[in-house]
Amino acid sequence: MDLKLAHSNKDGIEIVDVEGEIDVYTAPRLRELLIELVNKKNYQLVVNMEKVEFLDSTGLGVLVGGLKRVRAHDGSLDLVCTQERILKIFRITGLTKVFGIHESVDQAIAARKAEK
């Protein structure tokens, strides 16, 4: 399945909904969207990965790059993911310690607001 991207604002936090496969072919589109959002001064991001069917290290690189970019503006990039097969690659690479990973968008938003 190809990659579908959508985004919307909720409580001042930009929610990026990702559906499909994030790999070496599709990851550049996610990267472009994250760059676009940051360029438009959206520094609080939640990437909803509940409908992601495949993620490889190329996709991880894009997410890490997005995180680095928002952090340069004191922002945040949290993830929503409950799928074991996606979480596994975060665990293998140790990135579970880098990202806030939540079970729902509402939980991610609540966690972000609690930190403010």
């Binding site: 790999d23 070496v24 072919y25 760059i35 490889d56 290290s57 890490v64 790059g65 690659i89 690479t93």
Partner: protein, 161 residues
């Protein structure tokens, strides 16, 4: 002789095809359902590395994927055609079941220092993350010279129910 061989043009769009073929052959070969995601991800990582290296060094050369199953294991070999001189590559067995260390240097395309994060959103993570992911997924991983290029051999042992 491999059970199935696939040769593809080094373009990112074809990596998905290689993943699909590998998963289909693994399923057909009786690899446990619980391991299919690992096969799919590991093969994708190896093919992504090969595509990246080919696009830099030899975009006209194809990448070869050979899938073999026997009574003991399911094996996938991804072979590139990037000349050794371009690699600066290590060879050997890597992190089989976590028993050995990942080498400090990694082949081209496994992020060997070409990605600069400062100010830019990187496309790939540095420092051998792709190889580390493969090593974390396959039972055994070997990186070795193959012809004019390099092969990454990944295998999964048969599990008895």
């Amino acid at each position: 002789m491999a059970t199935v061989e696939v040769t593809f043009t080094p373009l990112p769009v074809h990596v998905r095809t290689a993943r699909l073929v590998a998963t289909a052959v693994a399923r057909r070969s009786g690899v446990a359902e619980s391991l299919l995601d690992e096969v799919r991800l590991a093969v994708g990582e190896a093919c992504s590395r090969a595509v990246e290296a080919h696009l830099r060094h030899c975009p006209g050369q194809p990448i070869r994927v050979a899938l073999t199953d026997d009574a003991e294991q399911f094996e996938v070999v991804v072979t590139d055609a990037v000349p050794d001189a371009e690699h600066g590559m290590p060879v050997g067995t890597v992190a089989a079941n976590g028993s050995t260390a990942v080498p400090s240097a990694v082949p081209a395309g496994f992020g060997g220092g070409s990605v600069v994060i400062d100010g830019e959103v990187p496309l790939r993570l540095p420092d051998g993350v792709g190889l580390a992911v493969i090593a974390g997924l396959a039972d055994d991983v070997r990186v070795a010279p193959a012809g004019s290029g390099t092969s990454v051999t990944m295998s999964w042992k048969r599990r008895t129910a």
